[in-house]
Amino acid sequence: MNTSSLAAELGRGLILIDGAMGTMLQALGLSVKECPETWNISRPELVKSVHRSYLEAGAQIIETNTFGANQYKLAQFGLADEVEALNWHGVQLARQAIGEAGRDGSAWVAGVIGPLGELLEPYGSLPLQNAYAAFRRQAQSLVEAGADLLYIQTMSDLAEARQAVLAARGLGVPVWCSLSFEAAGRTLTGATPEAAVISLTAAGASVVGANCSLGPQELVPIIERMVSLGLAPVLAEPNAGLPRLVEGKTVFPADPAEFAAGLAKLHASGAAVVGGCCGTTPDHLKAAAHLRGAPVALHPRPQGVLYLASRTEHVAIGANQPVRIIGERINPTGRKKLAADIASGAMVEVAREARRQAEAGAELLDLNVGVAGIDQVAAITQAVPAVERVTGLPLVLDSDTPEVLQAGVSVYQGKALLNSVTAKKESLVQLLPIAKAYGAAVIGLTITEQGIPQTAEERLAAAETIVRTAQEYGLDPGEVIIDCLTLTVGADQQAARETLKAIRLIKQELAVPCVLGISNISHGLPNRVPLNDAFLAMAIANGLDAAIVNPLTDSTRATFVAANLLAGRDQGAARYLAAFGGPEAPSQAPQKEAEPADNRQLLAKHVVTGDREGIALVVEKLLAGGMDPLQLVTEVLTPALEVVGQKYELGEYFLPNLLLSAEAAQKAFAVIKAHFPADERVVLGRALIATVEGDIHDIGKNIVKVILENHGFSMLDLGKDVPVEKIVEVAAAEQVDLVLLSALMTTTLPAMAKTVRRLREVVPQIPVLVGGAVVTAEYAREIGADGYGKDAVAGVQEAKRLLKQVRGLRE
């Protein structure tokens, strides 16, 4: 409608967008159980009055009361069929308020789209295409009703935000998108501000930003990071300070003056649009009205830099950036095991390669599923999420089949790099629309209809064709990186010189970044690694920005670090010193593959990642090297298990991860025991464990037993459905240090109480620790137990505490 005047306004200076709707409606009587959007129909005057008061306070953009008007949120109120009506009325009310205020042409309606309230695959159950469809439906309703722009907001999952932007674009109005961040500077699902800006602008958002969750002060560093990329104007809508709970009610502490001062800081940090979220009122906005139209500092997009992002992280390639390492190992060519893994769809090896390369220092991962004779479209749709689950590194999707690339990019939850297009017309016509549609960047191979050009000049011409055609398809030159092609030096000794010259020429003439696959240089020659490394160093000297290599090769990684420093791409030599400056510098002895500095670290890593394979060998090596078994347990295994426990408590691990680690640790203990069968020093204490009488559930009890064993307890397991007297008898006869009881059902709690009572009478000196699904800390106290564990990890800590107590008393 008046979209062009809005764009002009954005160029003129700071824009003031309105404040909270939800908390305002609640103040007007909306119950928290009510669907706020129904007020668009049932209480239109009240909704309009909120719009009016924000307009009077100076808002230039007002946000429709449609935050939850998507089919999923509305379904919770039985209103899934009302998407169109509620959005339509929402826009009408805002439009009427502007008309009544006499502000037509100087105020705009932002059609608000909020999260769906369901988590996307692979973590949640909502398929990407369903999310897309729901967003599309709401976006269309808002635009048909006359919204001037679509404003997607308060997103905590970048993947969901990306689907919303993809769905909202192409409807003829600008798409703005803001996420909500936590104080640590990431969204709930882990995205950084940079990853958000990169992914969302690539998907088609013209303004990006942060809203909700935090107060103005806390948003400042996040806004600064967003602005610094220079990709789009940045919006900030903080809450009225960090919410506090006062007498059971949420209170937002910032008063209007304090809030306005905060908005001024956000403006100074480079925000181009400011307003308020939860807890703000027209008074808050009014206090900031003087900021309207204030000049906004411009951060132009740096030339020659390509940005990529995963669901959580980002990477910049090009001018003034270190030369980036792209891991090449997820490629089944000549690798039977990996090929079989890809063909089977298991993707276990794929994920393992991803993790290993990430740990070795790769900054991006190339992903190629080119196994002959399989359905590669299906394979890449399985491989992409498998890799995303284990690493946040941005992906380079690698295939010579456009359908495979399209399938990969459609399931990828970030901004990917497509490997690759050529300067051939067919390739450009097929791939560039895909890149544009999904918000991806492309690698352009300097191959023409005639094949690989001999000279550097011809390759420059090919690169020009690619960059120019990409622009015609709406892709900025910053979305293209050129591969000047590595030819085998064994076949043509002038080949490397021509490639290096092409890099120089292309960087000079086109100011786009360059990438090379390195290893082809040494194809067919002996002793390949030094040749690869030398070529890499020379290419970096000629301006290379990223290289596809095997990051597990030590010397190759070292070449990156050294050449980055020499090429002036390592500020303050920080990366060099980080790699070689410390006392733990890697040895100079040639190693084939990256490994943790010593076997202790390797053992700890096996435990933490739950990798059973090879763990026995590492323990054998450590023992053969003269390590004392007690030291091995206390200095390596126990700390590693504690890391696992922490991860479990933080929710980073769930039960299967905990158990995989337990299995790995038990393998290590088994080796120690085989060598030192009589060594009792590693035993912390002896404990009896049982599921109480009448209860037949023992999986939980078994888990606790295993975890305690790993922490040095010698466990006496009486099994399930154990009579009270038997537990008492064995505890007394064996004089154990601790008794653990489990009950899973309410009907068996009395048996637990009875067992504790009898233990108290007969063996009062032995502490009792209880747990199980229905057992609470309160109940444990009530029946006189000494300790309570809500899960296996908490149980270990509690057991150790009780043991210390007992020992303290005895000494």
């Binding site: 988590l119 298991a346 929710g651 691990y653 299967p656 037949i696 009907t747 699904a773 229905v774």
Partner: protein, 228 residues
């Protein structure tokens, strides 16, 4: 009018939702990465479970007497908890049933545990729970479909231990399901053997039956790892 589904169920089919098994194992999407190793174990155990399950079900429809204080089914089964009564509403009949997947899954899970295969054991156990839940859900859905065809209405199943219906009620409910005919028995604590078995009640009425809130909300197992 009777629903007419009395006796043994012959066409029950186990359906295993992997995401549901992951939830049982405490998987929290936002924070726990689902690694391919874990996923591979899950898939493998799903396949194993499919080999091991022996689905069976049996159920009977009974008249219900509602008074101010309680809902009575037969001579012994009386439901007096206010929440459960409210949830059931004023029903005129009830379908009481039992389903099981047999004991092979839990036996195998225990065996795996004894072998030091803790991850597989725990995952298989969770899959067993999902499998037996799927059977109960099928009975519930079939009953609702049939009720709909007859112009009646059938509610959501509830089991002893839900809300304020005590687990002890199992002793009175179980005989009415005739669950022993499909190999289920009851121990003295009111627990079903095999463990991967469910007994439940579905209210039937001419009008709408009480809708169920989130099943986990009203459960006494506040510390349950499976809690939503």
């Amino acid at each position: 009018m009777r629903i007419g589904l009395d006796g043994q169920w012959t066409d029950l089919e186990v359906r295993i939702e992997l995401s549901e098994a992951l939830r049982y194992l405490g998987f929290r999407a936002r924070r726990s990465p689902l690694t391919p190793e874990v996923l591979a174990v899950c898939r493998q155990m799903c396949e194993l479970a499919e080999q091991l399950v022996r689905p069976a079900g049996i159920g009977f429809e009974y008249p219900v007497v509602c008074s101010e204080q309680q809902i009575s089914i037969g001579e012994h089964l009386h439901i007096s908890g206010a929440r459960t009564r409210r949830r059931l509403g004023r029903i005129s009949r009830a379908y009481l049933f039992a389903v099981t997947i047999g004991s092979a899954v839990e036996d195998q899970a225990n065996y795996l545990f004894e072998q030091g295969e803790y991850t597989k054991g725990a995952v298989l156990d969770a899959i067993g729970s999902v499998a037996v839940e799927s059977l109960a859900e099928q009975v519930n859905q079939a009953l609702r479909r049939r009720a709909g065809q007859l112009g009646l209405s059938a509610g959501e199943r509830i089991s002893p231990g839900y809300g304020d219906w005590p687990l002890e009620a199992q002793h009175d409910l179980f005989p009415l399901t005739q669950g022993e005919r499909i190999g289920i028995s009851l121990n003295k604590s009111g627990l079903l053997v095999p463990r991967k078995s469910i007994t439940a009640l579905i209210g039937i009425d001419a009008d709408g039956c009480g809708q169920v809130e989130n099943k986990c909300c009203c459960c006494a197992s506040v510390n349950c790892p499976y809690r939503d």
